[in-house]
Symmetry: C2
Subunit: 438 residues, 2 copies
């Protein structure tokens, strides 16, 4: 297969798979509908239905099927060298409660449709190509208690700590993660015992197609994007400012300990600082998603004695996150002294940015250009399974597909023509990485 | 009675009344105790108990007793000229739920004890001096629906609109104000019909002693203060900023419509503007007592699409309040454009400051100095019955007594020695205004 010919063949082979793709999305929507959206709980009925649909398509198309101890599903197009580390593509099949139909599922079916397209082309890859349907990526909606998130991919990659099998508690059934895995028919003891099902020894790379969770591609009028990195986060989930309640008319301003004015100053100064960081060309976003005076005691005519709030800062650069963390300390100390209040910022968590593999990113850019698809690079602000593959030292990359609605919301929407661009690029990528590595 | 002798005689006559005062406070505390505090609902059992105690003291001391149609109680030391407009002193006997024992009651017993002291001195005033126990000043705690507050004094002064008898609804009994007045044994038809029981034709002036509701006298280590004016208020009870919810990681800052960052900027800029107003020597206090993102949908990782908040600005100068109101418009418009959000500030109410009578204020300053009491002038931030007398064109003034605890709270506390300073000044004032006007 020569290069110009490849792009033509990939394009027509992918177009032939669109009926399969449409039926998949329709089966999932009908089977897991919940009000306006869909609900596919991690290790729940909706997720299982989606796995069953995936498996049936893989069976119909004569792909090799396997399942790991945590219930992740693998459908493989065998390569010439069965011993060579394989390429994996995929995403998760669970969803947030009443979420959108494409978040996760688009990446799983894209991987499977790419393999079917390549198979239909009579293409035999140099090494195994595997479509992976991942469990429990949205587990923070479904499991409370202590756990590190992304339970399915982390179990497959050996990153799940045995403790999490006990400490992650399903929000509706009350079962532990271990019980939930066992109940779903998988091998919790093998998860606990290891070894990891996936590792750099048997996986050469991972590529994930995912619907974008922000408006960048809509804003730039592009069907797909190529992810540069997954932003790291600096978070304070339980920040608090303590002042003193007093009468809003009878107490002079200079004798007050006003928690709202203190927090407003803190937020505004952090906002200004982040704006400066951005105007210096660095990546940063800053969010205070929750702010509340105490509804039990607050009043129009009472100086507020307490405010609770959250802080979420994200950046592709760890240095920027540590810089903002230092500013948070500096500003809150200054304001506490000036305004006679006390800040209790609570536990602050820092998660490092995850860089997508530079070489495969540039290969994706090449592919988009060959296929005549205009794509841009963009950072990713949300967590994805791909980040866990990077943490397990498996080079990874991601393709984003434009989302014309919201994320984690029934209004999430993806045009099939946009998905098709993403699927063309993914299929081309899997065909070419396999050839290149042969 | 010559002047230097008057101060001595007032001082010793007042000191002789302190046992009566202590018994009054004790009877009220025991009779209306509710947990740590006291509860005396407007037109309720606790308020009635306090009126009964007042009446009994007046009877015992042979003062003339009368009641108006709304149930306000009057105890009068007759003057030489019974036709001359009288001086009234007093305050309310109701309280907020689980409030302090002194808020209101201190001013009612002070008026009565002053008259008893003057009577014991064999002092016959030139005109009637009347102690008034006022109903329903704390009615905003007890009556919901539409009403203008301070129901007792406003009824006595003819300021109550007949509608309010229907539209004010008792929060626990569900009765209208009219029904509550009738149920308490008073003449609701006469309240409705008028004429006003008190007017500038039959009242020359009003003086109210009240426990301070702020910390100014504690801060300045003074037992009493003389009120300059009751601050006016600019209020927005239901202000709101509407942005758009989105993902805190996936949406670039410049594409966000972040309601929290917008409100933080608005609050901080208003705070800075008010600080400038104060540093120019003007009176202003600024409070945002309530701020809430929507707890049903907010999240650490969601750009906030809505914030609700309150604004309460108080000043002794109406011009300052209108200036801040204009700044609120200016800032919110600028910020809305800059941050792509919408402010819905809701109904804004402006109540004018109420100036205490300059001539009687300076007479109080003279009195404090003659009595050897160090007092300061200070603004009053809360509403008081005295403001209604001013609105009815009756010159009024107020004495504040130091509060070593909080206001509208069981921790409210007044030292009896501080009260005694206030009572000395009040008694001296009533003796001298009566002489001066004879």
């Amino acid at each position: 297969v020569t290069a110009p010919e490849l792009e033509k063949r990939v394009t027509s082979a992918v177009d032939a798979q669109m009926a399969l793709v449409e039926r998949f999305f329709s089966d999932l929507r009908v089977g897991t509908r919940d009000g306006e959206g869909v609900t596919r709980a991690s290790y729940g009925a909706g997720e299982q239905l989606a796995h069953d649909v995936m498996r049936q398509i893989a069976v119909t198309n004569n792909l090799e099927i396997s399942t790991d101890a945590a219930g992740n599903l693998y459908a493989t197009l065998p390569g010439r060298d069965r011993q060579a580390p394989r390429w994996i593509s995929g995403s998760h099949l669970d969803s947030v409660p009443q979420g959108g139909n494409y978040d996760g599922a688009a990446g799983a079916i894209a991987a499977l449709a790419a393999l079917v397209a390549l198979k239909d082309l009579g293409f035999q890859p140099a090494r195994d190509l595997t479509a992976m349907a991942i469990r429990a990526e949205e587990c923070s909606s479904w499991f409370s208690g202590h756990h590190g998130g992304h339970l399915g991919s982390r179990a497959a990659l050996g990153l799940l700590k045995p403790d999490e099998l006990q400490t992650a508690i399903h929000v509706s059934t009350g079962q532990t993660l271990g019980q939930s895995i066992a109940e779903s028919g998988f091998d919790v003891e093998a998860v606990r015992r290891g070894p990891a099902f996936l590792s750099p020894r048997n996986v050469q790379g991972f590529i994930e197609l995912h619907i974008e969770q922000g408006p960048v591609l809509v804003h730039d009028k592009l069907s797909i994007g190529i992810v540069t990195s997954i932003r790291g986060t600096l978070r304070a989930r339980e920040a608090c400012c303590i002042g003193a309640y007093s009468h809003s008319g009878a107490v002079p301003q200079e004798l007050r300990q006003d928690a709202v004015l203190a927090v407003a100053e803190l937020i505004h100064r952090l906002d200004e600082a982040c704006t400066r960081v951005r105007s210096d060309g660095n990546d940063i976003v800053f969010t205070v998603g929750k702010i509340h005076t105490d509804a039990k005691v607050d009043s129009l005519s009472k100086v507020p004695g307490e405010v609770r709030f959250t802080i979420d800062v994200r950046s592709q650069e760890i240095a920027i996150l540590t810089q903002v963390s230092a500013l948070l300390d500096e500003f809150s100390k200054e304001i506490a002294v000036k305004r006679n209040v006390r800040f209790e910022l609570g536990r602050r968590t820092l998660s490092e940015p995850t860089l997508m593999d530079r070489s495969w990113r540039s290969h994706l850019i090449t592919g988009a250009s060959r296929l005549g698809i205009v794509a841009r690079e963009l950072p990713c602000g949300a967590g994805h399974d791909a980040a866990d593959f990077v943490r397990a030292h498996i080079p990874s990359c991601m393709i984003f597909v434009r989302n014309t609605g919201d994320s984690h919301n029934p209004s999430e929407h993806m045009e099939l023509s946009d998905f098709r661009d993403g699927l063309r690029l993914l299929t081309w990528f899997l065909a070419t990485v396999s050839v290149r590595e042969a």
